[in-house]
Each structure stands twice: as structure tokens, then as C-alpha cells.
């Protein structure tokens, strides 16, 4: 098996080194917490709900790239594809609490759920209120009636965007939770992959895919999706993905949506644009209006080739928070 070539030092240090690199790129705005792999704002705006995001590493720029103005206040980072341990989450929680409590936003995976839950119990022991919004946008990962079993993929970005906005203007944990959960409930995504990423420590691809096949419903860790199909044209593929996404919420005539075409790793921007062309046609045919379009690499699985489509249905309240400017290393809205 061909192992992957990466530009690294000791693969065991990838997380601490990437935190250093990100902190350097922030020009003092983001600092690492001593002893644990968590990054937080150096200056916390006062009297706000703390917004902590996090999860396994290897999905960069998710999560730490989304810390910033009107975005998250900090990120707890696990090893590659492994949820952060409770002590990391707790350390970050303590730093972010301003007395108004801390909102956790992360992807819905067994590991993340358990570790963040353990941390929130520990936080409560220290009199810090925590509320949690788990992102479960991946329509391919469980049926709608088991929505809370779905995993979180690129929809993370929109939920974090809204959470960042509301938690910057509200000092009320309940309100921040309400709006963020509402955003989560309005988001749907689906991904596909045509080739695997690899974990830096082993260099081996996380799955094998024949040369002429595509994995439908691929998750963010290279854990397999729901089915394997023969390669097909971009247009056909998008049509199938959009049918599944639109039927799910469902998205209907007259709805307004924010659209995200997310690169899972090494897919070219050219392909993403070709995908967007078809998505646009499908939505036009369905009389769904696109409120905003975001295209790029936001939630990745190392160098996996593939992409996902995310839509968030927006109303006036969500638009208000969506429209607020935001400034982080990986997502800027002016």
C-alpha cells in the first residue's frame, strides 16, 4: 500500500505544532492554554456567553480555525480523529466562563459526546453552567426519525457561525443555546468521497476505494458512508445528493437557504464550482432561494478527495445572526 507523503515533523506532535502555527498566524489574538491542546482568545470580550467548540484534530481548519470575532472563543482539540479528553475541555471551559456559562458546540460522535459530557459534569462541580448543542447534519448517517443519531459534518460551520454571533451579543446562556439549537435544527448536509485521506501517524489511507467507485454519504473521518456506487458525472451525483438533502428537512418552494460547498480535502476548487453550478440549477428548479453561498475547505478529512453540500434554512432571526460580520483565520465575513 502506498503511504501518504506529508510535510511534517514528528507525527506525534502534529496537534501541538499546529496549535503553535495557528497561534502564530493570529498575531497574538489566540493563545494556547498551558499543558493542554486548547486554543482560546487572548482577550475575551466581557459579559458574554463563552463559546467552546472542539473535537478530534485532522479536520483543519475545523475547529480551531473558527475562533475569532463573532465566532468561537476557544477550541478543545483532541488527537487526530479522536475527541479531546475531558481535562482539555474542562481547562478551556474554565478559561472561557465569565460567569454567564459556556456553550459547547461540536459534532455528534460517541467519543465527543462522552468526553464533553464528562467535562460538563466536572464543570458543574465547579459551578460553571454548560449547555450543549451537538451538530447532527449528515442526512446519510441515520433516518430522520433518529436524527439525534446522525453525525456532524460540514454543517458545523453554519452552526458555529450562528452560535458565535448570538453568543457575542447575548449574555444569556439559554438564549444562546436556543438560537444555536435552532440553527442546528435547520441544517442538513451530505458528503461523498472519491479517495481516502490518511492519518499522519500511520501514513496509511483510512479506507480503500476501487478506482472507478465513489463512496456516498462519506463522513468526516474516512469512516465509510452508506453506499458505494460506480463513478458518475458531477451533475448526476449532485442531483442525487440534493434529492436526499431536500427531501429530508424538507426544503420547499419559497424557502431561503445558506449554501455551503465544502471541500473534504484534495478536491479542486474547480470541481467545487462545477458542483455549485448544478446545485444552483436544482435549487432554481425547486424555487428555493439562495441567501448566501460559501465555497471552500472548511471541514476536511486530511487529504481525502470529496465534498459535501450543506444547506441551512434561514428565517429573519437566523439571517440577522448570519449577517453579522465574522473574522477568524478560516472564515471571514465582512
Amino acid at each position: 500500500m502506498k503511504t501518504s507523503k506529508k510535510i511534517l515533523n514528528d507525527p506525534k506532535n502534529v496537534v501541538s505544532e499546529l496549535i503553535e502555527g495557528l497561534s502564530a498566524a493570529s498575531h497574538g489574538k489566540l493563545i494556547k492554554i498551558d499543558d493542554v491542546n486548547a486554543l482560546i482568545k487572548s482577550k475575551l470580550p466581557s459579559n458574554k456567553v463563552g463559546l467552546l467548540i472542539g473535537g478530534g484534530s485532522g479536520h483543519e481548519p475545523l475547529f480551531p480555525g473558527f475562533i475569532g470575532e463573532n465566532m468561537a472563543d476557544g477550541a478543545a482539540m483532541g488527537n487526530v480523529f479522536a475527541a479531546p479528553a475531558p481535562d482539555i475541555i474542562l481547562a478551556a471551559t474554565k478559561r472561557l466562563d465569565q460567569g454567564n456559562g459556556v456553550l459547547y458546540v461540536y459534532g455528534n460522535y460517541a467519543g465527543d459526546n462522552m468526553n464533553f459530557d464528562i467535562a460538563s459534569e466536572m464543570a458543574l462541580d465547579e459551578n460553571i453552567n454548560v449547555k450543549t448543542v451537538r451538530v447532527w447534519d449528515d442526512v446519510a448517517s441515520a433516518p430522520l426519525d433518529k436524527i439525534s443519531e446522525r453525525r456532524g459534518i460540514a454543517g458545523d460551520l453554519f452552526v458555529i457561525k450562528i452560535a458565535g454571533a448570538v453568543s457575542s451579543v447575548s449574555a444569556d446562556l439559554e438564549e444562546a443555546y436556543r438560537v444555536t439549537a435552532k440553527a442546528r435544527d435547520h441544517v442538513r448536509s451530505m458528503g461523498v468521497a472519491v479517495s481516502a485521506g490518511s492519518i499522519p501517524e500511520t501514513g496509511e489511507p483510512t479506507f480503500e476505494l476501487p478506482d472507478d467507485e465513489i463512496e456516498i454519504g462519506m463522513g468526516l473521518h474516512g469512516e465509510p458512508g452508506v453506499s458505494r456506487e460506480k463513478m458518475m458525472s458531477a451533475d448526476e451525483l449532485v442531483e442525487r445528493m440534493m434529492t436526499k438533502i431536500m427531501d429530508d428537512l424538507p426544503f420547499r418552494k419559497g424557502d431561503e437557504v445558506c449554501l455551503l460547498i465544502n471541500n473534504l480535502g484534495s478536491t479542486t476548487f474547480m470541481e467545487l464550482l462545477i458542483v455549485n453550478r448544478k446545485v444552483r440549477q436544482v435549487l432554481a428548479d425547486a424555487s428555493v432561494t439562495i441567501y448566501d453561498t460559501v465555497i471552500g475547505s472548511f471541514c476536511t478529512c486530511q487529504e481525502m478527495a470529496g465534498f459535501s453540500i450543506t444547506m441551512m434554512k434561514v428565517d429573519d432571526e437566523l439571517k440577522k445572526y448570519y449577517d453579522m460580520p465574522a473574522n477568524s483565520l478560516a472564515f471571514v465575513k465582512s
Partner: protein
């Protein structure tokens, strides 16, 4: 029956061998998960070995809790929470226990299992480490009058059998969940780990009982 010192040595033996098992566990997770289980378990038990080497424990509860906290803090992921919770939970009712025997082991497995079930909400049959842990716990009651070395051998065998049975299960939790029927034929990586932990415990007990 093992003294506290020997018990610690047993878990150092387990730790070393879990580190050695990195590749097997990673391969198992590649088949139906995200391929990092071996990396995580190796990182965790490397930390456990270091921790135990530098500390002595007065009772079994402190030892197990220390293992649990170390695993939880160093593995991360589902396995960190699950195996951390297993050891931490297993420590709960062993505060006065100053040696290791089959009764203590049985209590550890019962409390550990309960804690894991509460934390992760998985049940037997969901294709998790519980499917290796639960039969071992059941067996521990059945074999409670046997000598430790035999009892633990039988428990490891029950765990192995449970692990084998996970091949016929469809995952309903963790990263293998979306695989559906495609998870058939592969054992659950965490169940493999659970079996190996018991197997390595038996190996040590066998060695010192000779």
C-alpha cells in the same frame, strides 16, 4: 490472589502488551471505523505504564482510578471515555481492597460495565467493547470459586467469544454505525481491546502462579 505490588506489575504487563497490539487494533478499526483505535490505545497504555512506574497504590480502588484517569486523559476519542470510565467505574467499590482476587475482579467488571453503560448508553448487541465485557462479567460470577489463574483464563475466553460474536452484529453506535450491514464479518475494535486486556492479565497471573 495478588499483592498490590503484583497487581500493579500485572497492569504494567497489560500496558506493555496493549502498546504492542497497536497494529492489530488499528487494522480492526480501519475495517469498520476511522483507523485510530490502536494509536489511541497505545498512547493511553504508554501513559499508564509511565504513571504506574512512578507511583505506589494503597488499595485497588486508587490503582484502578489512576489507570482510568490516565486512559481518559491520554486516549481521547470514544475509547478514552469508554475505557477510562470502565477503570474509573470499576474502582468505585474497592476502596478497602488491598489485594487482587477473583471477587475483586468480579466487582470491578460489574461496576465498570455499569459505568460504561451509563456513560455511552450502549447495550449488549450494539457491537461495542460491552459485548466482550459483559460475558466476562457473567463468567466472573460463575467462576468465583476457581483459583484466580483459572478463573481469569475462563473470563478471557468468554471475552474472546464475545468479541468473536461481534462479527455477526451490526453496529448501532460509534463510527461503524453508518456501515449498516457492511460492518458484518468484522469484530468491534473496542471488543478486541477488552478481550486483550483480560488475556494479558491472565498471562501475567499464569507467569507468577508458576
Amino acid at each position: 490472589m495478588l499483592t498490590m505490588d503484583k497487581t500493579k506489575e500485572m497492569f504494567i504487563h497489560v500496558s506493555r502488551n496493549m502498546v504492542e497490539s497497536k497494529d492489530i487494533l488499528t487494522q480492526a478499526d480501519k475495517a469498520i471505523g476511522d483507523g485510530d483505535h490502536g494509536i489511541g490505545m497505545a498512547r493511553g497504555f504508554e501513559a499508564v505504564e509511565k504513571k504506574l512506574a512512578n507511583q505506589d497504590y494503597e488499595n485497588l480502588s486508587d490503582l484502578l482510578a489512576s489507570i482510568g484517569m490516565t486512559l481518559m486523559g491520554s486516549i481521547g476519542g470514544a475509547a478514552g471515555a469508554v475505557f477510562g470510565t470502565f477503570f474509573k467505574g470499576g474502582a468505585k467499590n474497592l476502596k478497602d481492597q488491598k489485594f487482587f482476587d477473583i471477587k475483586a475482579l468480579s466487582i470491578m467488571l460489574q461496576d465498570g460495565l455499569q459505568a460504561v453503560e451509563e456513560r455511552g448508553k450502549a447495550k449488549p448487541g450494539d457491537k461495542t467493547m460491552i459485548d466482550a465485557l459483559e460475558p466476562a462479567k457473567m463468567k466472573s460470577i460463575e467462576v468465583s470459586s476457581q483459583p484466580l489463574v483459572d478463573a481469569i483464563e475462563n473470563m478471557a475466553e468468554a471475552a474472546r467469544q464475545g468479541m468473536e460474536n461481534t462479527k455477526d452484529m451490526i453496529a448501532t453506535t460509534g463510527k461503524a454505525k453508518t456501515l449498516g450491514e457492511r460492518s458484518l464479518g468484522h469484530p468491534d475494535p473496542g471488543a478486541v481491546s477488552m478481550y486483550l486486556i483480560l488475556k494479558f492479565m491472565h498471562e501475567y497471573v499464569l507467569k507468577v502462579s508458576k
